[in-house]
Amino acid sequence: MLFNSYEFIFVFLPVTFFIYFYLNNKRFTVASKGFLVCSSLFFYSWWNVYYLPIILTSIVFNYTIGRTLNKEFNKNGGKVFKRIILTLGVVLNLSLLGYFKYTDFLIENFNLAFDSSAELLQLALPLAISFFTFQQIAYLVDSYRQETKEYDFLNYALFVTFFPQLIAGPIVHHKEMMPQFANTRNKVKNYRNIAMGLFIFSIGLFKKVVIADTFAVWATSGFDMATTLNLFEAWATSLSYTFQLYFDFSGYTDMAIGLALLFNIKLPINFNSPYKATNIQDFWRRWHMTLSRFMRDYIYIPLGGNRKGEFRIYTNLLATFILGGIWHGAGWTFVFWGFLHGMALITHRTWSKLGFNIWTWLAWLITFNFVNISWVFFRAREWNDAIKVIGSMFSVENIIFPTLFASKLGFLSDYGVYFGGLTGNILAGKEIVLWLIIGFILILFFRNSNQISTRKLTIWSSIFISIVLLISIYSLGDKSEFLYYNF
């Protein structure tokens, strides 16, 4: 079930909301939690009920391992035993993820390397597996550190399955979720939270269905359908995807945060105007913040972080980001995307150490363009698609001027300049220019939804949100999945 569907907005959400608080009102708190878990599993199964046993097995397995890790053991033998249990738990989690997500990738590369023809398994990726696997690995590691003792199964199951964050994050940490599920004050309807929840949800819905889905048409045309692109089309394609990804994913996160607030649960923020970043480190502090946090705490720091000398910092950064790339998808384009970001962070670190300063606007321009260009590898299905777009972005032979200027600048055709339609290959008209300008204005000059939501509730915000929600509902019909559902 998609957040941007009628069945979710008009049926699932109200029914779940009212029954949950009705049960709490009658002081059936355990039943209300159980109901929320069941509703979340129903929400999850809506796509494909065959995925349900996978998530259920994963929950029971990890909870059992976590409990075992929490037990007190004799000093020496116990420590080794716990290490073995932890390793087993992490390896099995990663194996499950690896089996579904990376088997075909490995077979393809094996075939390529050894000129063999092993058949691909063509496995469907169970929804949200990357997210719930990472959350539970974090839980296991912290159980090993004796930090999860007090958790009961129902709270744990709710921590993994809670429907607002189940499918595409934010990647929540048990420490920030479990106390909220246990807190009895959160069992009572809170109108402030409901109002803020509705507010943030509406903004997220608007970002997704009105803005991201508009850019999606041009991005898809440019990457997947067009055989050639001129210079303008190539830039329009990459920028369209850059905007689509941001508005799609941050829209999803806003909706998740808003939905959780309806149930008095505060999810961590995931985006903080990332395209305002003036360096790549700043970007990663603003983009998919919960993934960055996870990578820092469970990959970068265990690898040694910045404690083992400058060279190890660089290798750790690179390894962390390549793993981050692989987490997003099984493909060399993702690996390369991770590599690019790892290298950019190394470059930034070196640059900072040298003490050079550049103008803020130039720093922003470089950062934004680096991010924009690297998204091309992230988005492209094939290397060739990425090369097609990148090549056209930097090819002067591809310059086309609008036919409008043909009468005055016609002499340029002697020098290889063409006059014609600027955006025909990506199924766009003149409106794409306007949309790109709007995109830039929104990412650079507007407050993000987290900042807006701290404002007072006024009649103007009520009118604003009503219009935003209504436009979004009118735009709902052509449901499109969120990009991060694929990861």
């Binding site: 359908m225 063409y418 199924l427």
Partner: protein, 313 residues
């Protein structure tokens, strides 16, 4: 403003705006000019006529016939927009109820209409606002698949409301973009290169090819039902029926000729006249929507109609 009041006012405003939109719509009911014009204005005036040939079809046929001077024994009942096989069946039925039977009926369709289960943006609304006579509603209700499709579309708020809003005059109307479409005599290397750069249509055609491929091996229930109904009606009344396949991009036509629905039409012993067998309609001859043909090519199409259909009469 306290939270409770804020929530009430927001929900109240949304509700009020939705009601206003519905009221607004009641003043501007759904209207797709050509269809409404044909069924509600022109057809009621056609009574006890003795036309020998009836022409039914969509916008491609409408464009072609708009510049052809017809003999007085031929009646043009083509309309605009995707009236579909089902819609044309009802148009035909309405005509036959009040007029003498013709000798020959020509129905013009593009291949896509044989893959269409009435889900397209406007088609399903014709069954609410145009083909809504009591006996027609009754007939629709008897076909549970059709009823299901029309019912489910009603719950697609966007599809339903947006279509209705778009039908209002001062909202933007779709029109074929004249930027594409090369005249056949202009096709030379330079023009083609320019055209490829301006490539407004290839992606649309690619979409149509993909769609044709996706539907090639299945027979959609609604076209099947209405092919049978049209065939039965013409057989019962001893009227000759010819289905004319209109100009389509080469690959689309090739796929159609290998499709299950094509075989089905042939099996039903319906005469098929494929215009594409007489002339190859290159991708570059189509407008930006990938369906309509440019002015000069339309003249070729008219000549083909004249030569292969109208000349006979």
């Amino acid at each position: 403003m306290n939270s409770k009041k804020w929530l009430c006012s927001s929900l109240g405003i949304i509700l009020m705006m939705m009601i206003l939109i519905e009221i607004f719509y009641s003043f501007y009911p759904y209207d797709r000019h050509e269809v409404d014009n044909l069924v509600k204005t022109r057809m009621p005036k056609i009574n006890n006529e003795n036309y020998e040939i009836l022409i039914l079809g969509d916008s491609l046929a409408r464009n072609a016939f708009s510049n052809i001077k017809l003999n007085k024994n031929i009646l043009d009942l083509t309309s605009n927009a995707s009236v579909s096989l089902a819609g044309n069946y009802f148009i035909l039925k309405r005509y036959l109820l009040k007029n003498n039977k013709p000798k020959h009926i020509y129905m013009f369709f593009i291949p896509a209409q044989f893959y269409e289960n009435l889900n397209s943006k406007h088609t399903f609304l014709f069954f609410e606002t145009v083909f809504n006579k009591e006996e027609e509603i009754k007939e629709i209700k008897e076909i549970k698949e059709l009823k299901k499709i029309l019912y489910s579309n009603k719950f697609s708020y966007k599809k339903y409301t947006e279509s209705r809003l778009n039908s209002i005059n001062f909202f933007k109307h779709y029109s074929a973009d004249d930027k594409a479409g090369i005249k056949p005599e202009e096709v030379n290397e330079e023009k083609l290169n320019q055209f490829k750069r301006e490539n407004f249509i290839n992606n649309k055609i690619k979409g149509k090819i993909n769609s044709a491929r996706a539907h090639k091996d299945e027979i959609k229930i609604i076209p099947k039902i209405y092919i049978n109904k049209i065939k039965d009606m013409s057989d019962d009344m001893d009227i000759k029926l010819t289905i004319v396949i209109e100009p389509s991009p080469l690959v689309v036509n090739d796929i159609f000729k290998r499709s299950e629905i094509y075989k089905y039409i042939l099996e039903k012993d319906i005469e098929l006249l494929n215009i594409n067998d007489y002339y190859e309609f290159n991708n570059y001859f189509f407008y930006s929507d990938g369906s309509h043909i440019s002015g000069k090519v339309n003249e070729y199409y008219q000549n083909l109609i004249d030569k292969n259909i109208l000349n006979i009469y």
